[in-house]
């Protein structure tokens, strides 16, 4: 690991100021992604600002503004605490399940809610500095420019929204549930002002700038994640399909949330993980479900409509059928209140 200066953030304002002043500085939260990448020489900060002692860990009901009655989850709270908070478990069980589907007990005790959203891709070419990767080496004149996965081993990679520049997928489970739940991300800017970013606008597709995972600017601090009030708690499910039954990243995951009136679907939210460079909202499938009676035939139709747009790579054609079945399965589970 390269040498770096270590400081403790005294308050949010000075943390944001310090980071803004040094393009090579990074916030250190749980460290579970950043330190790993520093050991691999993928991230090379010369300064780490520890933000974990800032008082941004609260989980509370929102009392005013557009998300009134919803829930605010502190950016520096730990994943394990968010998953187990009674208000989250009661009203947003989808989020609890998604967090608990990720990583391990130890890592969820360390990982923060803000850090989780900013974790970087697990593309093995990105991790291995001797391999070509546009995300790691955006400079076109670099000897390591290019995308190793495009023509390389791309079994784990994207089937939606990729570009010739990058075919990586975004690894967070938590974020897939947040996408389905229409969350917003509150951010503190360098000028001391706050801004809110709708979840759909937070992460990016790779396009020509795969080095940018999100629309967060350097120096901005995630202070909280807000969830609007909803009626999905009775009918939601997070399904994660992976190579082993636990402690592995998703091949495909589906966050499904339904609002039901008897057997009729009033509202539907479906977000998918493991298929794109950002949480993939299955809007076509959602539209097809609204107003319909819940049935396997309807679910299959919705899944097929969404998956018709998939563009698999050489090694991941299996993800298309796997996604089809996962959408159907997640919807069945959601209808039954999370039970098979």
């Amino acid at each position: 690991m390269r040498p770096f200066r270590f400081t403790n953030a005294k308050d949010a304002a000075s943390a944001v100021r310090s980071l803004t002043g040094n393009p090579n500085a990074r916030f250190l939260a749980g460290g579970t992604n950043l330190l790993d990448l520093m050991k691999e020489d993928v991230e090379r900060p010369d300064e780490l600002i520890d933000i974990t002692r800032l008082p941004l860990t609260q989980i509370r009901t929102i009392t005013s503004g557009p998300n009134q009655g919803g829930l605010s989850i502190g950016g520096l709270g730990r994943n394990a605490d968010a998953a187990n908070h009674p208000l989250v478990r009661q009203n947003y069980p989808l989020l609890t399940q998604a967090i608990l589907a990720g990583a391990s007990g130890q890592i969820r005790n360390m990982a923060t809610n803000g850090g989780n959203l900013l974790q970087r891709t697990r593309c093995p070419y990105f991790y291995e500095v001797s391999m070509p990767c546009n995300k790691r080496e955006p400079d076109e004149s670099s000897a390591r420019a290019g995308c190793g996965a495009l023509e390389g081993i791309n079994r784990m990679h994207a089937i939606f929204g990729w570009s010739e520049k990058c075919v990586a997928v975004y690894p967070s489970d938590m974020a897939i549930a947040l996408a389905a739940l229409d969350a917003t991300v509150n951010v503190r800017k360098a000028d001391g002002q706050e801004r809110s970013i709708a979840f759909a606008d937070f992460h990016r597709l790779p396009g020509d700038t795969p080095e940018k995972d999100t629309n967060l600017n350097h120096g901005e601090l995630i202070t909280a994640i807000e969830l609007p009030r909803n009626r999905f708690a009775d009918h939601s499910y997070y399904l994660k399909v992976r190579d082993r039954s636990s402690y592995a990243f998703a091949l495909v995951s589906v966050a499904a949330a339904l609002e039901m009136k008897e057997n009729r679907i009033v509202q539907a939210r479906i977000a998918m993980g493991g298929v794109a460079h950002k949480p993939w909202r299955a809007l076509k499938a959602e539209q097809l479900l609204v107003g319909k009676e819940a049935s396997d035939a309807t679910f299959r139709q919705a899944a097929e409509a969404e998956m018709a747009g998939a563009r698999p790579l050489s090694h991941n054609k299996f993800k298309v059928e796997l996604s089809n079945r996962s959408i159907v399965r997640a919807l069945q589970m959601a209808v039954n209140g999370g039970k098979a």
């Binding site: 990583a103 391990s104 007990g105």
Partner: protein, 266 residues
Amino acid sequence: MEDNQTPQLTDDEKKLFEDLMPEDLDEILDTGVNRRHFLKLMTLAGGGLLAAHSAVAEQVFTRPLSVPSAPEPASAAIENGVNVSFKVNGAARKLTVDSRMTLLDTLREKLELTGSKKGCDQGQCGACTVLVDGRRVLSCLTLAATCEGRSVQTIEGLAQNQTGSAVRLHPMQAAFLKHDGFQCGFCTPGQICSAVALLEEARTGHASYVTENVRQTAGPVRLSAEEIRERMSGNLCRCGAYPNIVAAIQEVYSGKPVEQTWQFVG
């Protein structure tokens, strides 16, 4: 600590090395392999080889790295030195660390607590699991600099010293012994620390991905074998001692003797 200050191999270590890769031994000794490098090679050699040599290996791995003590460099001499005061197994510790130093390396190389193991150094195996302020974390992805004011518990701190007499093992340690919850033992300190924390999490009602109804928040969780497996999935065991590990945890959880439940399929 500079590499050239570390001691040369002991006879046991030479023997172990010889068994592992006899054809290389002379060359390696000629070129002057030191103990630290050796341990690194051993780690890379992986669980399978180690298992075959567990008796010697265990001895090798539990001997504290007692280096002929070079005086601690003053904090100014350490690049990006950070002062930290924290508790380790109840005792107050105060030291200056390079900002890059992980908690794992600090425990093993500065505090001579070599119980916590370095399997992958990347958060993927759980061998380095320790408790910080009572919660299980990975010490390989924790910077020592972030531990100011924290209380760290390692495998060495689980057993209790009864006044003036023998050590009393933590019930989880005793259950691992009883159920053969290990073969080579490399993952064991992490497994046990993780298991101790797991019981506390279940007692306070934490859910897991396999919990049937996460909306039900009242009271402790009932730990089925499936629940234990899911909650222990962050601790890998190359020797595959999993059924015995689950049995050991079930025994401590239930307070009743647990029968071996695994069998050969066929």
